[in-house]
Symmetry: D3
Subunit: 244 residues, 6 copies
């Protein structure tokens, strides 16, 4: 089985960490690799970045179907382009926020997300309440750090995440923590050890989730919302995305 993990940003050092995390728990027969698109932003911290990462994600999905991939993971906590990807291919596509929410839901009654810049709070909240009932998510806490700062100073980054996570457990009564950025994959074990609650890295969760769907022979429903996109022309720089 071939699972392609798409890091929607173009920072390759982050793609490598993501690949490492994605491979961690899969079976021997499961081939997993991570890619960055050939177009798009260096990191994703705003709706602007988010939407502009989607063409690259979709190009990787289309190329993936040519490469006979069996499933896809979108490895950014906003799950950019997830619904369009499900239209484009019938192979399962899993977002890391989505998988983290579902896995956390089976381990804890209530959970919090700890993430990057303050500006992302409302967006992340909106994302997760699209997957699980509102009352499951007791808080979204932000460190105020930009995405790539965690690469530059992982130690201080971990400390910042740990502090917000402790507040989530002690003040908001969270019973598990979701790491709200694909750049946090290396922190999960250490944090779980310290906090003594489940700490979910969505990359590992989503990759296993994708493997599960393939093993079960599941494919995306093509009746209704996720039917293949209508055939039509695209113009300009995006002409290659046309299907007419």
């Amino acid at each position: 089985m071939k699972i392609k993990v798409i890091n929607p940003n173009t920072t390759l050092s982050m793609t490598r960490s993501i690949e490492h995390a994605a491979r961690r728990f899969v079976g021997l027969d499961t081939q997993v690799w991570a890619v960055s698109p050939q177009l798009g932003p260096a990191s994703i911290e705003s709706f602007y970045d988010e939407y502009l990462s989607i063409p690259g994600v979709l190009e990787e999905i289309r190329r993936g179907d040519e490469e006979q991939c069996d499933a896809y993971v979108i490895a950014c906590f906003g799950d950019p382009g997830l619904q369009a990807a499900r239209e484009l291919t019938a192979h399962p596509v899993v977002g890391i926020a989505e998988a983290a929410c579902f896995v956390a839901s089976t381990l804890a009654k209530r959970f919090s997300v700890v993430t990057v810049l303050h500006r992302s709070r409302a967006f992340i909240e909106e994302t997760v309440v699209g997957y699980v009932p509102r009352e499951k998510v007791v808080s979204v806490r932000t460190t105020g750090w930009p995405v790539l700062a965690f690469e530059r100073d992982p130690e201080a980054g971990l400390a910042a995440i740990a502090e917000e996570s402790r507040h989530a457990v002690n003040r908001d009564h969270a019973e598990a923590i979701l790491l709200g950025c694909a750049g946090f994959v290396d922190f999960a074990d250490e944090l779980a050890e310290e906090l003594q609650v489940p700490v979910l890295d969505g990359v590992a969760a989503a990759t296993k989730y994708a493997e599960l769907l393939v093993t079960m022979g599941q494919r995306t429903s093509k009746v209704g919302t996720y039917a293949s996109p209508e055939r039509k022309q695209f113009t300009g720089l995006l002409a290659p995305f046309g299907t007419a």
Copy 2:
């Protein structure tokens, strides 16, 4: 005052109809014109089309700021890229679904949306309940027609919309109808006459709404969610979107 109306698809005949509708009610001092992006899909009927229309929308916003525009309207009922546009500029940006929801809310207790393909039902529902409380929207009804078919056979198109609108009023107890596609702008008056309920064309509503915001001197909040995008590099075809 200058208001730029962005038709996120590249079908210029539709852009002309939109411009006509957008100009209908504005003041003498308000300069309104409609454009299509130079890149993107011929029509928007899926998440795939929706997301791939956003780069073009954002390019028009950025160019608009250079052109000293005072406000923007995004003229597709899914309001593609609305939140990213609000990050990119401090001038007001209004979506046509959003404006239609707000205007309908002041005229009727309950309303329905009548739109194009069946596949859009869930997406349109999701869009409108982001603007108004769920109970306001009694149904989203679809004609099953693709967007551009309404251009090709407007008479039959109007009949199809009228039929679903009557069901909305009689079966779902709608008290107003929202036209769920920017391609329906020419149908509003005739339909309102026939149904004897308010029928909202979002293009006219959103353009007036944008004019109202400019007159009041309002600008988008730059504290939190809609702060300017972080400065960073973009790669490949999207390099021009970079801000580093």
Copy 3:
């Protein structure tokens, strides 16, 4: 076009400030004036005051239709009698809480309301979540000051509002502030300047909103909820309200 702004309380100094705010942004052809009813409470601070202000509001609506008014604004943040007013006339009626919610929704992802007495918190919360999805409204904060105290000591009043508004931005992550009382109209600009977020005075917003609806030729739906009241007799002091 004639827009009548109804201050539901009988404090004429407040009616004058409201008129001033209402006129601020309207077009040259738009005639705007504010009135107080001839019956009702000196200020509105409880459900008791609220309900007892409604007969006066409705009398002004009925008289307004005789005066050939084109639209109405109800200028108290609880929007007293709004739905009955929509039954009584087919001309648009806009509430200031309603208009403030809709305008704020296009400028900010999340907002707070700052208002008067602590007792109004739950009522104001209930009012605004009738217009927009619950998650838009991050808090309702109260100064503890009665309505008319702001007239008596505007400087200290502004300071009290500013303090709660700062808490709303810093602690509740509000990205815009709604002034939750028609008595606050004079504070909007100064507060916006200080807080650097949009500060919405509902009076100006609702008057412009009413103007927009008239310009678009919109009228209230008379199918269903807002049909004209059934004809019938009224008894006692309220006999003049009868329609039989």
Copy 4:
């Protein structure tokens, strides 16, 4: 114990039926009587009627406190003025929609309301979801009959209610029926017999509920929302409602 039942409309034949229903189950020591206000509408079928019935309701509350009443019932299914009444007196005040919702909730998992004119559907729905979680109420069904028509032709009225009630049970899966008008008090037993599900007349329920609260020595909370109205002047016809 003295319980005053206030029929908010001025149709005395209806007040007599209400009194009969209200007395049906109370204890020997409980004195129950029903009144109509001296001002207000002959029946309540719109927001207009509803709001204009409230001054009369409040006058009866105030007079009731002078008469040493121990509790009040507001006997119209929209519960007009309920929250203002709770401010005005510390003695318990119960609405018939409210009591019917609470009693039905202990007898059935899901219920429907059957009521009068079609225009009331949304209003009644809004009223009941203020008392119980939305999912309890599977439908609000309307007969299209005005309130007083049920007095004029009770047999045909009962048939109309029975038909909608059967639809509620068979199509909407209701497990109990709430009679959505105080004019239906005489129909409960016959309908329950026919439908073989609980059929709730809110008048009897609310009167017993009021008796229960008095027996338990409960009084309305005066901290926050339901504190006594602030003292102030009222003007014009409503001057007697002033408290300054």
Copy 5:
């Protein structure tokens, strides 16, 4: 009339206090007594305890029907087995959390629950929002004390409850307090006196509520959810629960 109050745990001293509270307000003709099941946990503090208390509750219901009981109260704030009890008998069954929620709703706009161990917070929240709209319940506060500790040191227990109740009123803006454990029945009066807000003991409320339902001749709906359990065999220790 005979009302059987079932304390789902087996601690008889608590059963005696519950009986005392349950009898407090009922009529002379109402016979009330409290029992503990012959099987089950000494106290209820987890889902484990909760579910394992249900067989004993159901046995007492079945025996109660043989004893010609007219109604039942389940006297633990999680209302264990309430829905199964409603299937088993047609006589009314009332839970103490349910009755407390309904009574509090008529006395206060917003309320809080104060309860035992921290682990119960989410469970109690889930229980009460099954009865009333989410916005009624401003907080669930926990003392951290186990159930039986309140029996051992009632004075310190009352102090712990009083402290959390004060926080509920002052910080969360609660206007009434629900005592979230049947072991708190003795504290209601003293606490109400101190806090000057309604303090609801669910045991007294539910018993009166059950009396009300019997007086009104109400019985549980047997159409749909609460129909009698299907007849079938049970195995092992639970064979006596079989109905085949």
Copy 6:
């Protein structure tokens, strides 16, 4: 890895089908077997059956921990005892309704559940909206057949399920079907083939889900809600469940 699948009812033929379904997709190193408790009902069709199946489920969990099981599946669509099981063991416990909801959520925008008796409609609805946002679940449809009838006449049973599933797709716009009973495990493939939408058997899904959690080294959070039950005595038939 050892995964124990608990069929909460005592019908062994059904346990065998469940075991077959549970084994279908797991890895070679995963040992899966299904058991029925030694106490409890022959099938689960009411709250009565549901609650009385829980002691048997919990006994199997406790015994499972002695048998060094790594995870558990509760194989009845109401997920009986799931939260108590999570208290009792730190090893992952997955319910089949829960797993079906999460898997369906990644494959389809909207889904329906098709299940057994009409009485279960509200209960099943309540169960699934505890896992996913309400708008995901467009309907719960019932065949009216009891659980064991599907074993006696599987062909007619499949036809009944297929009919309701078609209605779910065509009338309710479902894009996937969840089989709402563990007795339906044999129907999934045939139904998916016929309907051309994903058809989810929760048993296979939950078993794979449990395997995923074990592979990832996840354990239930013991902070808060799912902490181990407090130690205490149990009385009578349930004395063996005591922990004191």
